[in-house]
């Protein structure tokens, strides 16, 4: 346990090390990421990094570590409890403060939208809307938001100090949140007199994937993590590189470009069957796929979220983009009950996910995965796409 704690602290320290400029004058486009138990000491297969937030246009800044790197969402969210900066509040109609209900599979994040200069590596997105989760001043969660699940507004519930959504999209909601009436999904709210009502939110006011707002290296991200052997590791370290084909360190090389549909999905073919709602998500902590009837993998008797095959099982699937480009992917699923509880990086963790593949963090082990942002030009074409 001591060893793990020391190791984690070491990696966090390295991830937080400032990088401000390079000797040749080009922007530093790299940011370290670590896989460890995270700030709540609970996580496994979580990739964490740190962000520097500043009050817009000032040198009043704060570094927040333990931020989960999430290619499955877009936009930066930080826990109110981790934030000491007085960030300016975004206001909507009538000058009322804007708050957001961020929807995720296992719950929602609720809190105000505030403005910050976001620095990652040597890149900066200025005056960018971010969500501050669990702010005590916004404790009245609207019923519409509460009806989407359970809140994830504390360190204990989130397991991270925040979520850095560096996914396929520029905004977390997109056009839908600009609609009036019942077509609006009810993500953004204006709050007055202690009560919040759904509001339309223009694209530029929505919580933004900071990468596309960088002055350069703004068309996507490449995430690289080392191979993790069966049995796992105490933790591991990797790198996030901003930009695709913009500098000497972020070229696509031999990576294959697979475009997605409008929702960010592609097709995974497994045993001759096609599953068209599949996706890649560094914020999922395992390879979540299909069900026992389709895969033959039993779930754990004590944890229906995970597979527990008696022996390490080698499997293969083919991912096919909307552009038709296809690539075979080998992967392994092991017994989730037999893993070393002191470790935090496992390649063989998997679980059920009826009808689709969620290629979680284990997919990133041993490869570089590029995510190209919608509407952004790259040497491999215009995003959104994945390349690996």
């Amino acid at each position: 346990m001591y060893r793990l704690t020391f190791f984690s602290a070491l990696m966090l320290a390295q991830a937080a090390a400032p990088v401000c400029g390079s000797s040749d004058g080009s922007t530093v486009n790299t940011q370290a990421i670590v896989v460890n138990a995270g700030p709540a000491s609970t996580y496994f297969n979580g990739a964490f990094t740190s962000v520097v937030l500043c009050v817009p246009g000032t040198n009043t800044c704060q570094t927040i570590s333990g931020i989960l790197v999430d290619t499955g969402s877009s936009g930066l969210r930080v826990l109110s409890s981790a934030l000491t900066l007085p960030l300016p509040q975004q206001t909507g109609s009538g000058g009322a403060p804007v708050a957001e209900c961020g929807e995720f599979t296992d719950g929602f994040t609720w809190g105000p939208v505030q403005m910050a200069d976001i620095t990652l590596g040597g890149e900066q997105a200025k005056n960018t809307p971010v969500q501050v989760i669990g702010s005590p001043a916004f404790s009245n969660i609207p019923p519409n938001c509460l009806s989407t699940g359970a809140p994830e507004d504390t360190l204990a519930d989130l397991g991270a100090n925040g979520i850095l959504g560096v996914g396929l999209f520029r905004q977390d909601c997109g056009l839908a949140c600009t609609f009036t009436g019942s077509a609006n999904p009810g993500i953004y709210y204006v709050c007055a007199l202690g009560s919040c009502t759904v509001t339309t939110q223009a694209l530029a006011q929505q919580v933004q994937n900071p990468v596309w707002l960088f002055p350069s290296d703004n068309n996507g991200v490449g995430i690289t993590l080392p191979t993790v052997p069966a049995g796992g590791l105490a933790g591991t370290m990797g790198m996030m590189r901003f930009g695709i084909g913009t500098q000497s360190d972020n070229s696509l090389g031999s990576s294959q470009v697979q475009t997605t549909d409008a929702a960010g999905n592609f097709t995974t073919v497994f045993n001759g069957q096609s599953f068209g709602s599949s996706f890649i998500d560094s914020g999922s902590n395992g390879l979540y796929l299909l069900d026992t009837a389709t895969t033959g993998l039993p779930t754990c008797s004590d944890a229906p979220d995970f597979y527990c095959p008696p022996t390490l099982t080698q499997l293969s699937a083919t991912n096919r983009g909307a552009n038709g480009a296809a690539k075979q992917v080998g992967f392994q699923i092991g017994n989730a009950d037999a893993l070393n509880e002191a470790f935090t990086a496992f390649s063989e963790i998997g679980g059920p996910n009826p009808g689709l593949f969620d290629w979680g963090l284990p997919f990133f082990y041993g490869r570089t995965v590029f995510v190209a942002i919608e509407g952004q030009s790259t040497p491999g074409g215009v995003g959104p796409y994945w390349a690996y």
Binding site: G107, F108, G149, P352, P354, G360
Partner: protein, 156 residues
Amino acid sequence: MAKRLIRLTGFVVFLIAACPFQASATLGSDVTTVNEDRAKMQGALMSITRNDRFEIHQLQASNGTTVREYVSSTGTVFAVSWEGPWMPDLRQVLGPYFDAYQRTVPAVRNARRSHGPMTFRSGDLVVQIGGHPRAFAGRAYIERLMPQGMQAETIR
């Protein structure tokens, strides 16, 4: 097991024009409550698919999310599934089971030590939610109410 597809779209569109259709019954309730249901999903009934053991009522919420309700031959909603860009109103979809779901999810999440798709079991209720923002998918069913021999895998 031949399936008969009854297309009601045109008919229902007419009804919607006449009066906003408050779609959907909730999990575990009687299908005859559909029209009395005062829940919030402002949607349209797109189709009813029927076989000898159950019917599927497919509804399209105005936010683009599709909800399918599985109704047994005795008229009980034994399963619900959904897919679309945003989460459905789970309080309505899960009905009397929602409060227990919301209360128990944090413990499930903490036990799995992370985020990701979730399989939730409580008594004979099973809820599975996956996907990501702009493409969620999920299903919920009551094992005790499933038609005999029906596999959960067929609930899509």
